[in-house]
Amino acid sequence: MAEATRPLPSLKELDTRPFWEATKGKQLRYQKCDACGTVVWHPRGHCTGCTNGTLSWHTASGNGTLYSYSVVRQSYHPFFRTLVPYAIAWVDLDEGPRVLSNIVGVGDPTTDLACGQRVKLTWEEHEELSIPLFTPA
Protein backbone atom coordinates (compact mmCIF):
# COMPACT_ATOMS: atom_id res chain seq x y z
CA MET A 1 0.00 0.00 0.00
CA ALA A 2 1.27 3.44 -0.90
CA GLU A 3 2.43 5.67 1.91
CA ALA A 4 -0.32 7.92 3.22
CA THR A 5 0.04 11.55 2.18
CA ARG A 6 -1.43 14.89 3.16
CA PRO A 7 -4.89 15.38 1.61
CA LEU A 8 -4.46 18.14 -0.95
CA PRO A 9 -6.96 20.78 -2.02
CA SER A 10 -8.90 20.33 -5.22
CA LEU A 11 -7.76 22.45 -8.14
CA LYS A 12 -11.22 22.12 -9.64
CA GLU A 13 -13.15 24.02 -6.99
CA LEU A 14 -14.04 27.24 -8.80
CA ASP A 15 -13.84 29.87 -6.03
CA THR A 16 -10.50 28.73 -4.63
CA ARG A 17 -8.72 27.55 -7.83
CA PRO A 18 -6.93 30.90 -8.44
CA PHE A 19 -5.59 30.82 -4.89
CA TRP A 20 -4.20 27.32 -5.21
CA GLU A 21 -2.75 27.93 -8.68
CA ALA A 22 -0.75 30.85 -7.26
CA THR A 23 0.68 28.68 -4.50
CA LYS A 24 2.75 26.81 -7.09
CA GLY A 25 4.78 30.03 -7.37
CA LYS A 26 4.71 30.39 -3.57
CA GLN A 27 2.34 33.31 -3.54
CA LEU A 28 -0.20 33.56 -0.71
CA ARG A 29 -2.98 35.54 -2.29
CA TYR A 30 -6.15 37.02 -0.90
CA GLN A 31 -9.00 39.12 -2.28
CA LYS A 32 -9.90 42.72 -1.54
CA CYS A 33 -12.81 44.72 -2.92
CA ASP A 34 -11.84 47.65 -5.14
CA ALA A 35 -15.04 49.48 -4.22
CA CYS A 36 -15.49 49.05 -0.45
CA GLY A 37 -12.13 47.69 0.71
CA THR A 38 -13.53 44.54 2.31
CA VAL A 39 -10.93 41.78 2.65
CA VAL A 40 -12.70 38.59 1.58
CA TRP A 41 -11.55 35.22 2.90
CA HIS A 42 -12.02 32.39 1.95
CA PRO A 43 -11.76 33.23 -1.76
CA ARG A 44 -15.04 33.58 -3.60
CA GLY A 45 -16.60 35.23 -6.62
CA HIS A 46 -18.37 38.14 -4.98
CA CYS A 47 -17.79 40.83 -2.37
CA THR A 48 -19.55 40.18 0.92
CA GLY A 49 -19.30 43.85 1.90
CA CYS A 50 -21.12 45.43 -1.06
CA THR A 51 -23.22 44.28 -3.99
CA ASN A 52 -21.36 45.94 -6.87
CA GLY A 53 -17.68 45.62 -5.98
CA THR A 54 -14.93 43.91 -7.91
CA LEU A 55 -12.49 41.74 -6.02
CA SER A 56 -8.80 42.03 -6.84
CA TRP A 57 -6.11 39.56 -5.87
CA HIS A 58 -3.29 40.75 -3.59
CA THR A 59 -0.24 38.94 -2.29
CA ALA A 60 0.15 38.66 1.47
CA SER A 61 3.50 39.28 3.17
CA GLY A 62 3.24 35.97 4.99
CA ASN A 63 3.54 37.58 8.40
CA GLY A 64 0.84 37.06 10.95
CA THR A 65 -0.23 36.45 14.54
CA LEU A 66 -1.34 33.18 16.10
CA TYR A 67 -5.01 33.69 17.04
CA SER A 68 -5.59 30.25 18.51
CA TYR A 69 -4.31 26.71 18.19
CA SER A 70 -4.67 23.13 19.31
CA VAL A 71 -2.23 20.25 19.38
CA VAL A 72 -3.77 17.07 18.01
CA ARG A 73 -2.69 14.05 20.07
CA GLN A 74 -5.01 11.45 18.56
CA SER A 75 -6.08 10.95 14.95
CA TYR A 76 -7.32 7.96 12.99
CA HIS A 77 -6.50 9.58 9.66
CA PRO A 78 -3.93 7.45 7.80
CA PHE A 79 -1.61 10.41 7.18
CA PHE A 80 -2.14 12.66 10.19
CA ARG A 81 -1.88 9.80 12.66
CA THR A 82 1.79 9.64 11.68
CA LEU A 83 2.23 13.33 12.55
CA VAL A 84 0.85 13.46 16.12
CA PRO A 85 1.36 15.60 18.06
CA TYR A 86 0.89 18.38 15.51
CA ALA A 87 -0.43 21.92 15.79
CA ILE A 88 -3.47 23.32 13.99
CA ALA A 89 -3.93 27.06 14.17
CA TRP A 90 -5.97 30.03 13.15
CA VAL A 91 -3.50 32.67 11.94
CA ASP A 92 -4.43 36.33 11.48
CA LEU A 93 -2.42 37.58 8.51
CA ASP A 94 -1.26 41.19 8.84
CA GLU A 95 -3.38 42.02 5.80
CA GLY A 96 -6.56 40.76 7.51
CA PRO A 97 -7.43 37.21 6.43
CA ARG A 98 -7.80 34.63 9.20
CA VAL A 99 -6.42 31.42 7.73
CA LEU A 100 -6.37 27.88 9.06
CA SER A 101 -3.03 26.12 8.88
CA ASN A 102 -0.43 24.08 10.76
CA ILE A 103 2.41 25.49 12.84
CA VAL A 104 5.59 23.59 11.99
CA GLY A 105 9.23 23.85 12.97
CA VAL A 106 8.41 23.94 16.68
CA GLY A 107 10.41 21.85 19.15
CA ASP A 108 7.43 20.75 21.26
CA PRO A 109 4.10 22.18 20.10
CA THR A 110 2.47 21.22 23.41
CA THR A 111 4.65 23.71 25.30
CA ASP A 112 6.25 26.08 22.80
CA LEU A 113 3.21 27.85 21.30
CA ALA A 114 1.10 30.73 22.60
CA CYS A 115 -1.83 32.77 21.37
CA GLY A 116 -0.61 36.17 20.21
CA GLN A 117 2.83 35.06 19.06
CA ARG A 118 4.14 36.15 15.69
CA VAL A 119 4.39 33.58 12.91
CA LYS A 120 5.63 33.57 9.34
CA LEU A 121 4.77 31.69 6.20
CA THR A 122 6.63 28.61 5.00
CA TRP A 123 5.74 26.40 2.05
CA GLU A 124 5.40 22.65 1.70
CA GLU A 125 5.91 21.84 -1.96
CA HIS A 126 3.79 19.38 -3.89
CA GLU A 127 3.65 18.58 -7.56
CA GLU A 128 0.85 20.88 -8.65
CA LEU A 129 0.62 23.31 -5.75
CA SER A 130 2.24 24.29 -2.47
CA ILE A 131 0.68 24.20 0.97
CA PRO A 132 0.99 27.34 3.12
CA LEU A 133 2.19 26.47 6.61
CA PHE A 134 3.47 28.73 9.38
CA THR A 135 6.43 28.69 11.72
CA PRO A 136 7.35 30.92 14.68
CA ALA A 137 8.76 34.26 13.47
Binding site: S10, W41, S70, F80
Partner: protein, 397 residues
Protein backbone atom coordinates in the same frame (compact mmCIF):
# COMPACT_ATOMS: atom_id res chain seq x y z
CA UNK B 1 -44.37 41.00 25.34
CA UNK B 2 -47.11 38.68 26.48
CA UNK B 3 -46.27 35.00 26.58
CA UNK B 4 -48.05 32.82 24.04
CA UNK B 5 -48.96 29.18 24.39
CA UNK B 6 -49.27 28.15 20.76
CA UNK B 7 -47.74 24.67 21.00
CA UNK B 8 -46.55 22.21 23.62
CA UNK B 9 -44.37 19.14 23.87
CA UNK B 10 -46.87 16.42 24.76
CA UNK B 11 -44.94 13.21 24.05
CA UNK B 12 -41.30 12.18 24.50
CA UNK B 13 -39.19 9.08 24.21
CA UNK B 14 -35.46 8.51 24.47
CA UNK B 15 -34.39 5.24 22.90
CA UNK B 16 -32.93 3.31 25.84
CA UNK B 17 -29.96 1.52 24.25
CA UNK B 18 -26.68 3.21 23.30
CA UNK B 19 -25.32 0.09 21.59
CA UNK B 20 -27.67 -1.76 19.26
CA UNK B 21 -24.78 -4.00 18.09
CA UNK B 22 -25.61 -3.37 14.44
CA UNK B 23 -28.99 -5.11 14.81
CA UNK B 24 -31.17 -2.03 14.28
CA UNK B 25 -31.22 0.65 11.61
CA UNK B 26 -31.58 4.39 12.28
CA UNK B 27 -35.05 4.27 10.68
CA UNK B 28 -36.11 1.46 13.02
CA UNK B 29 -34.89 3.45 16.03
CA UNK B 30 -36.85 6.45 14.77
CA UNK B 31 -40.05 4.47 14.28
CA UNK B 32 -39.87 2.69 17.64
CA UNK B 33 -39.18 6.00 19.38
CA UNK B 34 -42.06 7.68 17.53
CA UNK B 35 -44.50 4.99 18.61
CA UNK B 36 -43.45 5.28 22.26
CA UNK B 37 -43.61 9.10 22.19
CA UNK B 38 -47.09 9.02 20.66
CA UNK B 39 -48.13 6.51 23.31
CA UNK B 40 -46.66 8.81 25.99
CA UNK B 41 -48.92 11.58 24.65
CA UNK B 42 -51.97 9.36 24.37
CA UNK B 43 -51.96 9.86 20.60
CA UNK B 44 -51.64 7.58 17.57
CA UNK B 45 -49.95 7.60 14.17
CA UNK B 46 -53.14 8.85 12.53
CA UNK B 47 -53.09 12.02 14.67
CA UNK B 48 -49.77 13.17 13.18
CA UNK B 49 -50.09 15.76 10.42
CA UNK B 50 -46.57 17.23 10.37
CA UNK B 51 -43.12 15.59 10.25
CA UNK B 52 -39.72 17.11 10.97
CA UNK B 53 -36.59 15.26 9.98
CA UNK B 54 -32.85 15.94 9.84
CA UNK B 55 -32.17 13.54 7.01
CA UNK B 56 -31.19 10.11 8.37
CA UNK B 57 -33.47 8.69 5.67
CA UNK B 58 -31.13 9.94 2.98
CA UNK B 59 -32.11 12.20 0.08
CA UNK B 60 -35.80 13.21 0.23
CA UNK B 61 -35.91 12.00 3.82
CA UNK B 62 -39.27 13.70 4.41
CA UNK B 63 -40.85 11.39 1.87
CA UNK B 64 -38.92 8.37 3.11
CA UNK B 65 -40.05 8.72 6.71
CA UNK B 66 -43.64 9.61 5.78
CA UNK B 67 -43.88 6.32 3.89
CA UNK B 68 -41.94 4.34 6.50
CA UNK B 69 -44.14 5.62 9.32
CA UNK B 70 -47.24 5.29 7.14
CA UNK B 71 -48.20 8.95 7.46
CA UNK B 72 -49.75 11.47 5.07
CA UNK B 73 -48.48 14.72 6.62
CA UNK B 74 -49.57 18.21 5.55
CA UNK B 75 -46.24 19.70 6.65
CA UNK B 76 -42.79 18.28 5.83
CA UNK B 77 -39.69 20.07 7.19
CA UNK B 78 -36.25 18.56 6.60
CA UNK B 79 -34.08 21.29 8.11
CA UNK B 80 -30.64 19.84 8.83
CA UNK B 81 -28.38 22.00 10.95
CA UNK B 82 -26.49 19.17 12.63
CA UNK B 83 -27.00 18.69 16.35
CA UNK B 84 -29.18 21.79 16.60
CA UNK B 85 -31.69 20.44 14.07
CA UNK B 86 -34.24 19.46 16.71
CA UNK B 87 -34.33 22.91 18.30
CA UNK B 88 -35.09 24.25 14.81
CA UNK B 89 -37.70 21.55 14.31
CA UNK B 90 -39.39 22.52 17.59
CA UNK B 91 -39.35 26.17 16.55
CA UNK B 92 -40.78 25.38 13.14
CA UNK B 93 -43.41 23.02 14.54
CA UNK B 94 -44.60 25.73 16.91
CA UNK B 95 -44.77 28.20 14.01
CA UNK B 96 -46.62 25.78 11.76
CA UNK B 97 -49.08 24.88 14.52
CA UNK B 98 -49.64 28.55 15.41
CA UNK B 99 -50.44 29.26 11.76
CA UNK B 100 -52.97 26.46 11.70
CA UNK B 101 -51.01 24.35 9.20
CA UNK B 102 -50.68 21.45 11.64
CA UNK B 103 -52.06 20.13 14.92
CA UNK B 104 -49.67 17.30 15.84
CA UNK B 105 -45.97 17.43 14.89
CA UNK B 106 -43.60 14.47 15.09
CA UNK B 107 -39.82 14.88 15.46
CA UNK B 108 -37.62 11.76 15.34
CA UNK B 109 -33.94 10.87 15.46
CA UNK B 110 -32.06 7.62 14.98
CA UNK B 111 -28.36 6.89 14.71
CA UNK B 112 -26.02 3.91 14.81
CA UNK B 113 -22.83 5.96 15.03
CA UNK B 114 -21.35 3.63 17.64
CA UNK B 115 -22.16 0.41 15.74
CA UNK B 116 -20.75 2.02 12.61
CA UNK B 117 -17.46 2.70 14.45
CA UNK B 118 -17.76 6.34 13.46
CA UNK B 119 -14.76 7.93 15.15
CA UNK B 120 -16.44 11.27 14.88
CA UNK B 121 -14.15 13.20 17.16
CA UNK B 122 -10.74 12.06 16.04
CA UNK B 123 -11.27 11.11 12.41
CA UNK B 124 -8.75 13.60 11.11
CA UNK B 125 -11.39 14.67 8.67
CA UNK B 126 -9.11 15.34 5.72
CA UNK B 127 -11.45 14.40 2.97
CA UNK B 128 -11.76 16.19 -0.32
CA UNK B 129 -13.59 19.40 0.35
CA UNK B 130 -16.12 20.39 -2.25
CA UNK B 131 -17.26 23.63 -0.57
CA UNK B 132 -14.83 26.51 -1.09
CA UNK B 133 -14.37 27.00 2.67
CA UNK B 134 -13.50 23.33 3.10
CA UNK B 135 -11.04 23.51 0.23
CA UNK B 136 -9.03 26.11 2.16
CA UNK B 137 -8.95 24.04 5.35
CA UNK B 138 -8.97 20.32 4.57
CA UNK B 139 -5.17 20.03 4.30
CA UNK B 140 -4.46 20.76 7.98
CA UNK B 141 -5.65 17.50 9.56
CA UNK B 142 -8.41 19.09 11.62
CA UNK B 143 -10.27 16.90 14.06
CA UNK B 144 -13.59 17.74 15.65
CA UNK B 145 -11.94 17.84 19.06
CA UNK B 146 -9.17 20.17 17.86
CA UNK B 147 -11.74 22.53 16.35
CA UNK B 148 -13.44 22.98 19.73
CA UNK B 149 -10.08 22.98 21.48
CA UNK B 150 -9.10 26.13 19.59
CA UNK B 151 -12.12 27.91 21.05
CA UNK B 152 -11.07 26.68 24.51
CA UNK B 153 -7.48 27.81 23.99
CA UNK B 154 -8.56 31.30 22.98
CA UNK B 155 -11.00 31.48 25.92
CA UNK B 156 -8.12 30.62 28.26
CA UNK B 157 -5.89 33.23 26.62
CA UNK B 158 -8.42 36.07 26.72
CA UNK B 159 -10.12 35.41 30.04
CA UNK B 160 -7.76 33.26 32.10
CA UNK B 161 -10.13 30.30 32.04
CA UNK B 162 -8.53 27.13 33.41
CA UNK B 163 -8.82 23.41 32.70
CA UNK B 164 -10.03 22.99 36.29
CA UNK B 165 -12.92 25.36 35.60
CA UNK B 166 -13.83 23.55 32.38
CA UNK B 167 -13.71 20.28 34.32
CA UNK B 168 -16.57 21.51 36.53
CA UNK B 169 -18.88 20.88 33.58
CA UNK B 170 -17.75 17.28 33.18
CA UNK B 171 -18.00 16.65 36.92
CA UNK B 172 -21.54 18.02 37.28
CA UNK B 173 -22.69 16.13 34.23
CA UNK B 174 -21.22 12.84 35.43
CA UNK B 175 -22.88 13.32 38.82
CA UNK B 176 -26.22 13.53 37.01
CA UNK B 177 -25.35 10.57 34.80
CA UNK B 178 -24.64 8.33 37.79
CA UNK B 179 -28.22 8.97 38.97
CA UNK B 180 -29.65 7.99 35.57
CA UNK B 181 -29.75 4.19 35.08
CA UNK B 182 -29.87 4.57 31.28
CA UNK B 183 -26.71 6.68 31.38
CA UNK B 184 -24.92 4.17 33.61
CA UNK B 185 -25.93 1.37 31.24
CA UNK B 186 -24.70 3.48 28.31
CA UNK B 187 -21.28 3.93 29.89
CA UNK B 188 -21.11 0.20 30.63
CA UNK B 189 -22.12 -0.76 27.09
CA UNK B 190 -19.57 1.66 25.61
CA UNK B 191 -16.91 0.23 27.91
CA UNK B 192 -16.08 3.39 29.85
CA UNK B 193 -13.37 2.89 32.44
CA UNK B 194 -14.00 3.82 36.08
CA UNK B 195 -17.74 4.41 35.87
CA UNK B 196 -18.28 6.57 38.93
CA UNK B 197 -18.62 10.17 39.98
CA UNK B 198 -15.57 12.10 38.85
CA UNK B 199 -13.48 14.84 40.41
CA UNK B 200 -11.84 17.84 38.81
CA UNK B 201 -8.52 16.01 39.23
CA UNK B 202 -9.90 12.99 37.34
CA UNK B 203 -10.78 15.23 34.42
CA UNK B 204 -7.57 17.25 34.20
CA UNK B 205 -5.47 14.11 34.68
CA UNK B 206 -7.24 12.23 31.90
CA UNK B 207 -5.46 11.82 28.59
CA UNK B 208 -5.09 14.90 26.40
CA UNK B 209 -6.94 14.43 23.08
CA UNK B 210 -6.34 17.84 21.52
CA UNK B 211 -4.83 20.55 23.73
CA UNK B 212 -6.33 21.85 25.93
CA UNK B 213 -9.20 19.32 25.90
CA UNK B 214 -8.85 16.09 27.88
CA UNK B 215 -10.64 12.80 27.31
CA UNK B 216 -13.20 13.46 30.06
CA UNK B 217 -14.09 16.78 28.45
CA UNK B 218 -15.22 14.99 25.26
CA UNK B 219 -18.63 13.46 24.61
CA UNK B 220 -19.20 9.77 23.95
CA UNK B 221 -20.08 8.28 20.56
CA UNK B 222 -23.18 6.17 21.11
CA UNK B 223 -26.00 4.68 19.14
CA UNK B 224 -29.40 6.04 19.99
CA UNK B 225 -32.35 8.15 19.06
CA UNK B 226 -35.62 9.52 20.27
CA UNK B 227 -38.84 11.26 19.41
CA UNK B 228 -40.80 14.33 20.45
CA UNK B 229 -44.46 15.05 19.79
CA UNK B 230 -45.56 18.69 19.71
CA UNK B 231 -49.23 19.58 19.62
CA UNK B 232 -51.67 22.48 19.45
CA UNK B 233 -53.33 23.66 22.69
CA UNK B 234 -56.67 22.02 21.84
CA UNK B 235 -54.87 18.67 21.43
CA UNK B 236 -52.54 19.19 24.38
CA UNK B 237 -55.38 19.70 26.87
CA UNK B 238 -56.55 16.11 26.29
CA UNK B 239 -53.09 14.50 26.24
CA UNK B 240 -51.90 12.13 28.94
CA UNK B 241 -49.09 14.29 30.37
CA UNK B 242 -48.60 17.88 31.52
CA UNK B 243 -48.03 20.06 28.46
CA UNK B 244 -44.57 21.61 28.19
CA UNK B 245 -45.10 24.85 26.31
CA UNK B 246 -42.68 26.23 23.75
CA UNK B 247 -42.46 29.86 24.87
CA UNK B 248 -39.73 31.27 22.66
CA UNK B 249 -37.24 30.24 20.00
CA UNK B 250 -34.20 31.65 18.24
CA UNK B 251 -31.94 30.63 15.37
CA UNK B 252 -28.54 31.88 14.23
CA UNK B 253 -25.39 31.04 12.27
CA UNK B 254 -21.70 31.67 12.87
CA UNK B 255 -18.71 31.10 10.59
CA UNK B 256 -15.07 32.13 10.38
CA UNK B 257 -14.61 35.84 9.82
CA UNK B 258 -11.52 38.01 9.61
CA UNK B 259 -10.97 39.42 13.08
CA UNK B 260 -13.83 37.37 14.50
CA UNK B 261 -14.16 36.12 18.08
CA UNK B 262 -14.26 32.32 18.36
CA UNK B 263 -15.03 32.46 22.08
CA UNK B 264 -18.51 33.75 21.20
CA UNK B 265 -20.95 31.37 19.52
CA UNK B 266 -24.08 31.87 17.44
CA UNK B 267 -26.03 31.59 20.70
CA UNK B 268 -25.25 35.25 21.31
CA UNK B 269 -27.63 35.95 18.41
CA UNK B 270 -30.23 33.20 18.94
CA UNK B 271 -30.66 33.55 22.72
CA UNK B 272 -31.95 37.15 22.82
CA UNK B 273 -34.60 36.21 20.25
CA UNK B 274 -35.74 33.24 22.33
CA UNK B 275 -35.67 34.91 25.75
CA UNK B 276 -37.30 38.03 24.33
CA UNK B 277 -40.11 36.07 22.73
CA UNK B 278 -40.68 34.10 25.93
CA UNK B 279 -40.56 37.23 28.07
CA UNK B 280 -38.21 35.64 30.57
CA UNK B 281 -34.61 36.24 31.66
CA UNK B 282 -31.78 33.74 32.25
CA UNK B 283 -32.01 34.29 36.01
CA UNK B 284 -35.49 32.72 35.94
CA UNK B 285 -34.31 29.50 34.23
CA UNK B 286 -34.32 26.34 36.37
CA UNK B 287 -32.94 23.85 33.84
CA UNK B 288 -30.17 24.44 31.28
CA UNK B 289 -30.05 21.72 28.66
CA UNK B 290 -26.98 22.85 26.75
CA UNK B 291 -25.32 20.86 23.99
CA UNK B 292 -22.27 19.35 25.68
CA UNK B 293 -20.20 18.04 22.82
CA UNK B 294 -17.24 19.23 24.88
CA UNK B 295 -16.73 21.13 28.14
CA UNK B 296 -15.91 24.35 26.30
CA UNK B 297 -19.17 24.21 24.38
CA UNK B 298 -21.13 24.51 27.61
CA UNK B 299 -18.88 27.22 29.06
CA UNK B 300 -19.17 29.41 25.96
CA UNK B 301 -22.89 28.78 25.66
CA UNK B 302 -23.61 29.61 29.31
CA UNK B 303 -22.07 33.01 28.62
CA UNK B 304 -23.77 33.50 25.27
CA UNK B 305 -27.16 32.49 26.68
CA UNK B 306 -26.75 35.26 29.25
CA UNK B 307 -26.23 33.32 32.47
CA UNK B 308 -23.03 35.29 33.06
CA UNK B 309 -21.01 37.91 31.15
CA UNK B 310 -18.65 36.84 28.34
CA UNK B 311 -15.38 35.66 29.82
CA UNK B 312 -16.70 35.01 33.31
CA UNK B 313 -17.97 31.49 32.68
CA UNK B 314 -14.92 29.89 34.25
CA UNK B 315 -15.38 31.45 37.67
CA UNK B 316 -19.16 31.26 37.37
CA UNK B 317 -19.24 27.45 37.13
CA UNK B 318 -16.81 26.91 40.02
CA UNK B 319 -17.80 25.08 43.19
CA UNK B 320 -20.37 22.71 41.73
CA UNK B 321 -22.80 25.45 40.81
CA UNK B 322 -24.33 23.44 37.93
CA UNK B 323 -25.47 20.49 40.09
CA UNK B 324 -29.16 19.64 40.21
CA UNK B 325 -29.24 20.04 43.99
CA UNK B 326 -28.10 23.68 43.98
CA UNK B 327 -31.23 25.38 42.62
CA UNK B 328 -30.58 28.68 44.38
CA UNK B 329 -27.32 29.13 42.47
CA UNK B 330 -28.76 29.07 38.98
CA UNK B 331 -29.86 26.43 36.51
CA UNK B 332 -29.07 22.74 36.77
CA UNK B 333 -27.02 21.59 33.77
CA UNK B 334 -27.80 18.56 31.62
CA UNK B 335 -29.57 16.58 34.32
CA UNK B 336 -29.75 13.41 32.19
CA UNK B 337 -25.97 13.10 32.15
CA UNK B 338 -25.51 14.92 28.87
CA UNK B 339 -23.54 13.96 25.81
CA UNK B 340 -20.49 13.68 28.03
CA UNK B 341 -21.91 10.80 30.09
CA UNK B 342 -25.28 9.62 28.77
CA UNK B 343 -26.09 9.92 25.08
CA UNK B 344 -24.35 11.35 22.03
CA UNK B 345 -25.02 9.55 18.76
CA UNK B 346 -23.88 12.55 16.68
CA UNK B 347 -26.82 14.95 16.78
CA UNK B 348 -27.82 15.31 20.41
CA UNK B 349 -30.31 18.16 20.07
CA UNK B 350 -33.43 16.01 20.51
CA UNK B 351 -32.32 14.83 23.96
CA UNK B 352 -32.10 18.44 25.12
CA UNK B 353 -35.83 18.82 24.46
CA UNK B 354 -36.62 15.41 25.99
CA UNK B 355 -34.82 15.97 29.30
CA UNK B 356 -36.12 19.54 29.57
CA UNK B 357 -39.64 18.14 29.17
CA UNK B 358 -38.95 15.45 31.81
CA UNK B 359 -37.83 18.11 34.28
CA UNK B 360 -40.90 20.27 33.68
CA UNK B 361 -43.10 17.19 34.11
CA UNK B 362 -41.24 16.17 37.27
CA UNK B 363 -39.88 12.93 35.76
CA UNK B 364 -36.09 13.43 35.78
CA UNK B 365 -33.71 11.12 37.65
CA UNK B 366 -32.05 14.31 38.93
CA UNK B 367 -35.25 16.23 39.46
CA UNK B 368 -35.02 19.91 40.34
CA UNK B 369 -37.78 20.70 42.82
CA UNK B 370 -40.62 22.65 41.25
CA UNK B 371 -38.79 23.27 37.96
CA UNK B 372 -40.85 25.69 35.86
CA UNK B 373 -38.63 27.05 33.10
CA UNK B 374 -36.00 25.39 30.94
CA UNK B 375 -33.78 26.37 28.06
CA UNK B 376 -32.69 23.84 25.45
CA UNK B 377 -29.83 25.07 23.31
CA UNK B 378 -28.47 23.10 20.38
CA UNK B 379 -25.15 23.82 18.72
CA UNK B 380 -24.89 22.16 15.31
CA UNK B 381 -21.63 22.09 13.39
CA UNK B 382 -18.38 23.15 15.03
CA UNK B 383 -17.93 25.71 17.79
CA UNK B 384 -14.47 26.80 16.63
CA UNK B 385 -15.43 27.49 13.03
CA UNK B 386 -18.92 27.23 11.55
CA UNK B 387 -22.10 26.25 13.33
CA UNK B 388 -25.82 26.84 13.75
CA UNK B 389 -27.54 27.69 17.02
CA UNK B 390 -31.07 26.85 18.08
CA UNK B 391 -32.47 28.15 21.38
CA UNK B 392 -35.81 26.97 22.76
CA UNK B 393 -37.40 28.26 25.98
CA UNK B 394 -39.82 25.81 27.58
CA UNK B 395 -42.25 26.25 30.46
CA UNK B 396 -45.16 24.61 32.22
CA UNK B 397 -48.39 26.08 33.50
Amino acid sequence: MSQTRDAAIVGIHEYPSRDVEGELSPLQIKAQSAARALEDAGLNWRDVDAVYDAGEGGPMSGLTIAEYFGLKPNVIDTTNVGGSSYEYHAAHARRDIAQGKARVALLTYGSTAHSNMARIGVGGRGGLGVQPGDNMESFVGMTLVANYAMAARRHMYEYGTTSEQLAEISVATRLHAMRNPQAVKAMEDLEFLNIRETTIEDVVNSRMIADPLHLLECCMISDGGGAVVIAAPEVAKDCAKTPVWILGTGEATKYPENGGDITTSAAAQSAPQAFGEAGVTPTEIDIAMIYDSFSITVLALLEDLGFCPKGEGGSWVEGGRLRFDRPDDGPALNTDGGGLSSNHPGMRGIFLLIEAARQLRGESTSQVTDAKLAVAHGNGGMLGSRHCAGTVILGRD
